[in-house]
Amino acid sequence: MIRDVALGQYIPGNGIVHRTDPRVKILLLIAFIVFIFCSFSFVSLGIVTAAVAVIILLSDVSLKLYLKSLKVIIVIVLITSLLNLFYGTGDPIFKWGFISVTMAGVYRAIFVSVRIILLILISSCLTFTTSPTDLTDAIERLMKPLKVFHIKVHEIAMMMTIALRFVPTLLEETDKIMSAQKARGADMESGGIIKKIKAMTPVLIPLFVSAFRRAYELAMAMECRCYHGGQGRTRMKTLHMKGSDCVGIIYAAVVLAGIVLGNIFFTAVI
C-alpha cells in the first residue's frame, strides 16, 4: 500500500543520532552533501562512504529501512549511471555502433551512482531520526537570520509543520476513499496508463474536497485561538546544544580534513 513508502518517515528511537540537536543535524547534512560532491578521488569518496556508513550504523534504525528507501530510487540510479557511462571522453574501451564506452565514462558512472546512494542514505538518516516537529523547529531557528530580508521565517516554518502533520492523515484518507470506490466497482488495477489516470478521478476529487475542508477547519480553529504568527511567541520546547553535538561537529571536521587530503594527494578521476 501507499503507507509502505519508507522515505521521509520518522522512526522513534534513543540512539546518539536521535539525541543530537536537530539544528546540528541539518547543518551536518548540508556539510555532508557538500562533502559528497567535493570528493574527486577514489580515496575521498571512500572516506565519505565510510563516514556515512558509521553514522548509519550508529543511528538505531534497522538497515532494512535504509534499503527500503533506496529501493525507491534504484531506477534513477540505474538510468543516470547508464547515461554517464556513454558520456566520457578519451579512448573508448568498448565500441559498438555509435555507442562507445570510455574509462572516464565508467568512473563517472560509478561516482554518480555512489553519490546518489549516499545522498539518499544520509538524508533518510535525518528524517528517520528526527521528528517532523523538531525538524521544522530547527529550520525555523536556522533561517532566523533571513528575517533581515523581511522573509517571514515563522510563517514558512508553520506551513511546513502543517504540511508534514497532514501527510499521514491524507494518506489514510486516500486509503479509505480508494477502498470506498473499489467497493463501488472502480477498477484501478487493470488497463493502460490513460485508463489508470482516469480511474484516479473518483479518488482525487473527494481527496481535494476533504483537504480543503480540513484546511478551512484548521484555519478557523487557529483563528479561534487568536493565532497571529511569530511576533513575541515563546516555545514550549527550546533547543539546547549539548556536548554530544560538539562530537558531531568534530566528526564532520575530521571527515572534511580526510577528503581534502584525499583530493590533494590522490589523482582526481572526475
Binding site: E173, K176, I177, S179, A180, Q181, K182, A183, R184, G185, A186, D187, T201, P202, I205, P206, V209, S210
Partner: protein, 287 residues
Amino acid sequence: MSIIETKNLSFTYGVGTPFEKTAVDDLSVSVNEGEVIGLIGHTGSGKSTFVQMLNGLIKPTSGEVLLDGINIWDKPKEIRKIRFRVGMVFQYPEYQLFEETVRKDIAFGAINKGLSGDELEATVRKSARFTGLSEDLLEKSPFDLSGGEKRRAAIAGVIAMDPDVLVLDEPTAGLDPMGRDLLLSQIIQYHQERKNTVFFVSHSMEDIARVADRVMVMNRAKLVMFDTPRNVFARVDELHEIGLRVPQITRIMTGLREKGHRFSEGILTVEQAFDEIVDRLKREGKI
C-alpha cells in the same frame, strides 16, 4: 441456505513488523440468505476489518470467505465481481462523492457493473427512492447537498449495484435523531422489498435491536456471541464486561422487573415495552 460463510477467518495487520496486530482471529460464521445481521463490538474489536473481508477489499491472512459456497479468492482476478454482489457502505460514505451531479454519482457503481441506458436510469431512480432522495436533487451537485442528503446519495450509490449482500458500516453515525430514524426505516423497507442479506455494523444497541435477526458480538478480534438479539441482550453482565450495553429500554424493563413488576423478559424496543405496559394496565383494569 447460507449465502455467506466464513471459515477460520483471520487477518493480521503489519505481518513481520513491530506493529503486528491481529484484527480478526479465527472467525467462523454462517449467514442465511435474507437475514439481517447486526454487528456490535467495542472500537477496535475488528468489526470493520471483518466486513471489509466479506467483499474482498482485504485479503484474509488465513481462512476463507465463501459466497454461495465458493471461496471468493479462488479467482483473484475476478474479485471485482464479488464487490457487485457484496455491496459495502463505509463509515461516513459522504466523503466518497465525486461526480458533477447526484444522478451521475449514484450511477457510478451501476455503470461499473455494466448497466446502461434505460436500465441504468431506472436503477438510479429506484435507489434514490429507496433512500428517500427526491427527484429534483438528482440534478444537483453532490457537494451542494446537506449532510444527511449526502449520506443518502452515497448509500443509494451502493444500492444501485443491486447487491445480494449489503454491508452497512455505521450508516446512521453523526445523523440527527430524526434522520437516523428515517434512514433506518428506509433500510428496513428496502430489505423487505429486496429480500437481501444485510450486515449492519452499529454502536447503537437501539438500532441493532430494531433491525437485526441475529447479532454478532465481537471482542478483541474474536467472535464472542452470535445469537438472536433477545438472547444476546439477555447476557447483560457479559456484554458489560466487554464494554457494551443493552438497549436503554431493555435496562428500564429489567429494572422494573427487579422491582417486582411482572414484565416479560427480552424487551428490546420502545414499541414492545409500550405494548407490554398497556397490556398490563388493561389486565389490571386501570385503562
